[in-house]
């Protein structure tokens, strides 16, 4: 493997960070699309030169950019995200009905097999699919055809569909997550969907074990073991070993089980990473110390990783899509902060350094491992 390409979305543009396999000598390109909010950029597993990017501002709305040459050049593709039929209503923050309104694309998930197939998770929550490289988008309407949609309500960041997990062994199996509705799954390619939140408990709900309404922040899956899912919920780190049918808590000895990111080591499906955040109102690390926690046992037992990370006076957040892992051995771990730093650990989390310190607030981090 010759190197890595880290795709960083920020509040005011995108950046591309590249290095060879040593991952210690970095080239920084950007800002691309300066001044625009870049919620997410992601490369196609089937063609690493194909990258999709979500670009938006409150002034000019949503755009999708596509690169066919690894980020050297970009072209705007389709930006019409029309809900299927009458979009209807979901719950507003106070529980009253509120019409579904498109705001932005939070997450882009290219297909494992076809670079022209890509899914988009949007706010207000819906799943869209393009089969022509992003030129046109169709809603995967079965998701919002469920009875539960009228009970979905926005989290603090909006009613966003932020996580899309495509099972590499079964193209009909998709899991998605919405704040604050929960996890939903299809096993028939998107025709029918159902809530998959058994075992989640959220004290902010009238019924803490309700079928929907849980503020799931992020879900991660290892491609070699797609039935095992790891979740960072608003509070609680959770695990499922049956593709989301049931969940159990694995927060264990974490100093706080609130947080946003969670990810899995590419070489070991039982090694997972989180960044604990103090609380839902204090979106910064406990004790002003930025610590990644690693579990080598798939949860419950966690160790702090601090070498090279600020251990005092640090009050940044790490947002839900702002962690990624490369496919090298040892695995490289990357995350970005709302303070504009992007950190890398080339040794599976043992030691860290900042690739960049002072970008705009980081919204997302993805990494491509290049042949």
């Amino acid at each position: 493997m010759s190197g890595v390409r880290v795709l960083v979305g920020t509040r005011k543009g995108a950046f591309i960070l590249t290095a060879d396999g040593g991952r210690d000598d970095w080239r920084v390109e950007g800002p691309l699309f300066g001044g625009w909010e870049m919620y997410h950029l992601k490369g196609s597993p089937a063609d690493p030169n194909r990258i999709y990017a979500s670009q938006s501002t409150s002034w000019f709305g949503q755009l999708i950019q596509r690169s066919d040459d690894g980020g050297a050049s970009w072209q705007p593709v389709g930006n019409e995200f029309a809900y299927e039929g009458d979009p209807g209503t979901h719950q507003w923050y106070d529980g009253t009905p509120h019409p579904w309104e498109f705001a932005r694309v939070w997450h882009l998930e290219p297909s494992h097999a076809d670079p022209d197939v890509v899914y988009a998770g949007v706010e207000d929550a819906a799943l869209f699919r393009s089969a022509d490289g992003g030129k046109s988008w169709q809603e995967v309407a079965g998701l919002r055809a469920q009875d539960s949609v009228h009970a979905w309500q926005p989290g603090a960041g909006g009613l966003c569909l932020h996580t899309i997990l495509l099972d590499p062994t079964d193209p009909d199996r998709i899991r998605i997550a919405i704040s604050a509705a929960g996890v939903f799954g299809t096993d028939d390619g998107g025709a029918s969907w159902r809530p998959m939140n058994k075992g989640l408990r959220s004290e902010g709900l009238p019924d803490p074990e309700a079928e929907v309404g849980h503020c799931v922040h992020h879900v991660a899956m290892h491609p070699s073991r797609p039935a095992t899912l790891f979740m960072q919920k608003h509070w609680d780190v959770m695990r499922s070993d049956d593709a989301g049918e049931t969940w159990r808590e694995v927060s264990g000895n974490l100093p706080s089980d609130f947080g946003f990111v969670i990810d899995v080591d590419s070489n070991d499906p039982d090694t997972i990473f989180v960044v604990p955040i103090k609380s839902d109102s204090e979106h910064y690390p406990p004790d002003g110390a930025l610590r990644v926690f690693r579990s080598r046992s798939g949860g419950e037992e966690w160790e702090p990783l601090t070498k090279g990370l600020p251990q005092r006076d640090c009050y940044v957040n790490v947002l839900r899509d702002a962690m990624a892992l490369d496919a090298m051995d040892p695995c490289g771990v990357y995350f970005g902060t709302t303070g504009g730093a992007v950190y890398v650990s080339p040794d599976g989390g043992d030691s860290w350094s900042a690739i960049v310190h002072d970008l705009p607030a980081v919204l997302s981090v993805e990494v491509q491992t290049l042949p």
């Binding site: 625009w36 409150s58 002034w59 000019f60 949503q62 705007p76 930006n79 029309a82």
Partner: protein, 98 residues
């Protein structure tokens, strides 16, 4: 010839420098100007007016001849100076949008 001045972000998106010049046949209104603009620069679709409804986006304003035309009917004729090409039709990102 109608002159259209775009905000910096949209000039970059459309890959234009300076003003855009459009030749229109028939009535010159905000709607026909923007229709012609989007026909020449399809990447601008959805950025000034919403897809589907063609409503002006909330943080976009239309100015011409020192007047705010944002709340005029999009089917009213634009000022004579815009029709004559002596003043541009300006698409503006509101100061509150960033």
């Amino acid at each position: 010839m109608i002159r259209v001045l775009l905000p910096a972000h949209l000039k970059m998106l459309a890959r234009v420098q300076g003003e855009v010049e459009l030749d229109l046949e028939g009535p010159v209104t905000a709607r026909t100007v923007l229709d012609a603009l989007e026909a020449r620069y399809p990447m601008l679709r959805g950025t000034i007016r919403e897809h589907g409804t063609s409503r002006r986006r909330a943080y976009v304003r239309y100015f011409a001849c020192n007047e705010d035309l944002s709340h005029e009917s999009p089917d009213l004729p634009l000022p004579d100076a815009v029709l004559a090409g002596t003043e541009p039709f300006m698409v503006v990102g509101a100061m509150s949008g960033g």
